[in-house]
């Protein structure tokens, strides 16, 4: 709500109010953390009261109450202050966990593990939502919105270095540090390769479809049907032919192609990525104003010049949108690839599920979430910028 429309900030911001109230409730009612003596035994839950006692609990509620008050009269200044509070609260969450670790875990329990409870998870989730709402209301540019996450992340890094040693997630991570880093690498490589291949293929297919009308209907029909096969089934479908290929073509086998592993995973990811990539590229190239192209030809530009200087730059924002959708989708789908031995962060998720170790599942899931959000924000910002350049 802008100051001009709403000078005194008279109408309360309902979204922020509900987020804040829900957060307060979760903070007080749900467990803040759980403490287990070792990895095998399941933990014992502790509420916020256990963590900080009465004065501490009240103090922890204060910023949330202040934010509610600001949301009651949401002038621009108030919203800015609220955003500051939200960022501060996010940054304080790791400190809160460290406080819990210090107060609830005795020093004669070196194996003890601190699990993050529902209260803190819900608070984290709601605060992030509040941040999105505030960012939209204040019309902050995407990159600045992203930069606001830096203070909380830095706080997390500091507390992880000292104070949060018993955190179960941290211990899972330390126990598998090499595996974790390798898994991130595999995941990124798989996604990067899939997006790069489908971009090249997608542009080639889109160009062919623009050239030959018959390719068009056939192409879209094929890609659409590919998209409807469930991911695991597609991985399965690729198993037999690839295994056969690996058995009969020596150099493919030497490359490491087989029925399971990275080859079918990559193929399936490319398969899923092609439709959004081709659709966006095709529409982008096709929808460039015919008057502009006619003028370009009439001025004496060659075909290559028209494509490079006119059609491609005008289509670029929409093509980039296709890359964004494809990338985010591939980051998520690549997790499933772990099931056929392609590695990546999915490995932790499925192993963790098998061992009923939720912290291990999180170790796989959280980075995937972060990667998807970062890819989305960066590519979205780039697309916005291109669009501005093209249209302003």
């Amino acid at each position: 709500m802008s100051d001009a429309l709403n000078p005194g900030g008279a109408r309360p911001n309902v979204v922020l109010l509900s987020l804040g109230l829900a957060g307060l409730l979760a903070w007080v009612v749900f467990d803040a953390v759980s403490v287990a003596p070792n990895r095998i035994v399941s933990g014992q839950g502790h509420g916020a009261w256990d963590v900080a006692g009465w004065p501490g609990l009240v103090a922890s509620l204060a910023p949330m109450l202040a934010m509610l008050a600001l949301a009651w009269r949401p002038s621009r200044r108030h919203l800015r202050l609220a955003l500051g509070l939200v960022v501060a609260m996010l940054a304080a969450l790791p400190a809160w966990l460290a406080l819990a670790a210090a107060r609830l875990i005795e020093s004669e329990m070196p194996q003890a593990r601190l699990g993050i409870g529902a209260g803190v998870w819900v608070a984290l989730f709601l605060l992030l939502l509040a941040m999105v709402e505030l960012r939209t209301r204040l019309a902050l540019p995407r990159l600045l919105g992203g930069a606001l996450l830096l203070p909380p992340l830095m706080s997390l890094a500091v507390w992880l270095a000292s104070g949060l040693e018993p955190l179960a997630l941290r211990q899972e991570l330390l126990a598998r540090r090499d595996g974790f880093i390798a898994a991130i690498g595999e995941h990124l490589l798989l996604v990067g390769a899939a997006v790069a291949i489908s971009l090249l293929l997608g542009v080639a297919i889109a160009l062919a479809m623009r050239r030959w009308v018959r390719c068009r209907t056939l192409g879209f029909a094929l890609l659409n049907s590919l998209q409807t096969i469930p991911s695991l089934a597609l991985f399965g479908l690729l198993l037999a032919p690839l295994a056969w290929l690996a058995a009969h073509v020596e150099w493919l086998a030497a490359l490491g192609v087989s029925g399971i592993g990275w080859a079918p995973a990559l193929l399936a990811l490319v398969g899923y990525s092609l439709l959004p990539m081709v659709r966006n590229t095709f529409v982008a190239l096709d929808e460039v104003d015919t008057g502009v192209i006619d003028a370009a030809r009439g001025m004496g530009m060659s075909r290559g010049q028209i494509f490079r200087q006119v059609r491609l730059p005008l289509a670029a924002p929409v093509i980039l949108e296709g890359i964004r959708i494809t990338t985010v989708q591939a980051i998520g789908l690549a997790a499933v690839a772990a099931l056929i031995g392609a590695g990546g962060l999915g490995t932790f998720i499925f192993q963790g599920l098998g061992q009923a170790a939720m912290d291990m599942v999180l170790l796989g899931a959280l980075p995937i979430l972060v990667m998807a959000l970062v890819a989305d924000a960066l590519l979205g910002a780039l697309s916005d910028r291109l669009r501005q350049g093209a249209a302003s």
Binding site: D289, G291, V292, D294, A295, G298, M299, G300, L314, S392
Partner: protein, 314 residues
């Protein structure tokens, strides 16, 4: 000079242009008119090979256009269209400098050329050079389109409804500017329009087309006075033809030079058209007007009789 000899264009079964022959002399402004779909745009676009003709020959300065590389041919001709076709991702200055850049002019020469064109078309450099096309009004965008067509100083200018979709006042301003430009630069211009007043005002040669053929061509006054058939007559204005003709003649041509006695009465410039004079007579209920020169001196008298009288033009 542009010459079309027995040119035809077929799109599959339909014949868009059917065996037309046309000669457009240097410095001449030819206007193609006709009902929608009669082949005006096709004719225009065959000249710069945006469309390849099926039969006949098209010559530019005596050379067959098929002898040129397409791009070379087009860079020699200006091309302006109704939708302007400005590149939305380029600034106004960059748009105007397109063809000179394709011709690899040095940057300083391009800059100077763009500046002089923008000044000529009433688009001050410091205000408009860095604007994007979507920040322009319709009239400004069409001016930029014309500037871009003129940029490499081509001898030939092809214009397909370049002032379409503009309000009458802006349109008239641009027509006036084009006329002035033409008087100075002496291009060979081929112009397509649906607006008959615009056609009559601009044309040195009016070409009436129907179903891919040329029905009649010549000076607008000649066509108005002796239309070849009913189609030409009705296209040129039917019942209004008298008024259209009056719009092409000036008061100075019909007035009676003044004797010694300056008369009282309504005054009209000698550059005004007969149509304007008639309108003033109707409006003022006057049978005669006093004609004045640029200094406001009475130099003659125009009576209703003289206005409608003998054709003293040629």
């Amino acid at each position: 000079m542009i010459e079309l000899i027995g040119v035809s264009k077929r799109f599959g079964q339909t014949t868009a242009v059917d065996d037309i022959s046309l000669r457009m002399a240097p410095g001449e402004l030819s206007v193609l008119v006709g009902t929608s779909g009669c082949g005006k745009s096709t004719t225009l676009r065959m000249i710069n090979r945006l469309i390849e003709h099926s039969d006949g020959e098209i010559h530019i300065d005596g050379q067959q256009i098929r002898g040129f590389r397409e791009e070379t041919l087009r860079r020699r001709m200006g091309y302006a269209i109704q939708s302007t076709g400005l590149f939305p991702h380029w600034t106004v200055a960059r748009n105007i400098g397109l063809v000179p850049r394709l011709l690899k002019w040095p940057a300083s020469r391009i800059h100077a050329r763009v500046e002089s064109l923008m000044t000529m078309l009433g688009l001050p450099m410091d205000e408009f050079a860095d604007k994007m096309p979507r920040q322009l009004s319709g009239g400004q965008a069409q001016r930029v389109g014309v500037a871009r067509a003129l940029a490499a100083d081509p001898d030939i200018l092809l214009m397909d409804e370049p002032f379409g979709a503009l309000d009458p006042i802006t349109r008239e301003t641009l027509q006036h500017e084009l006329r002035e430009l033409q008087a100075r630069l002496q291009k060979t211009i081929v112009f397509v329009t649906h607006d008959m007043d615009e056609a009559l005002r601009l044309a040195d040669r009016l070409v009436v087309m129907d179903q891919g053929r040329i029905r009649q061509q010549g000076h607008p006054l000649a066509l108005l006075r002796e239309p070849a058939d009913g189609f030409v007559a009705s296209l040129l204005g039917g019942e209004d033809r008298g008024l259209k003709e009056a719009a092409l003649l000036t008061v100075g041509e019909r007035m009676m030079p003044l004797g010694a006695k300056p008369l009282p009465g309504e005054r009209i410039s000698r550059h005004a058209t007969l149509r304007e004079a008639l309108s003033m007579m109707l409006w003022r209920h006057a049978e005669r007007l006093v004609v004045i020169d640029d200094q406001g001196m009475a130099i003659g008298e125009l009576s209703l009789r003289r206005l409608v009288g003998a054709r003293s033009h040629e």
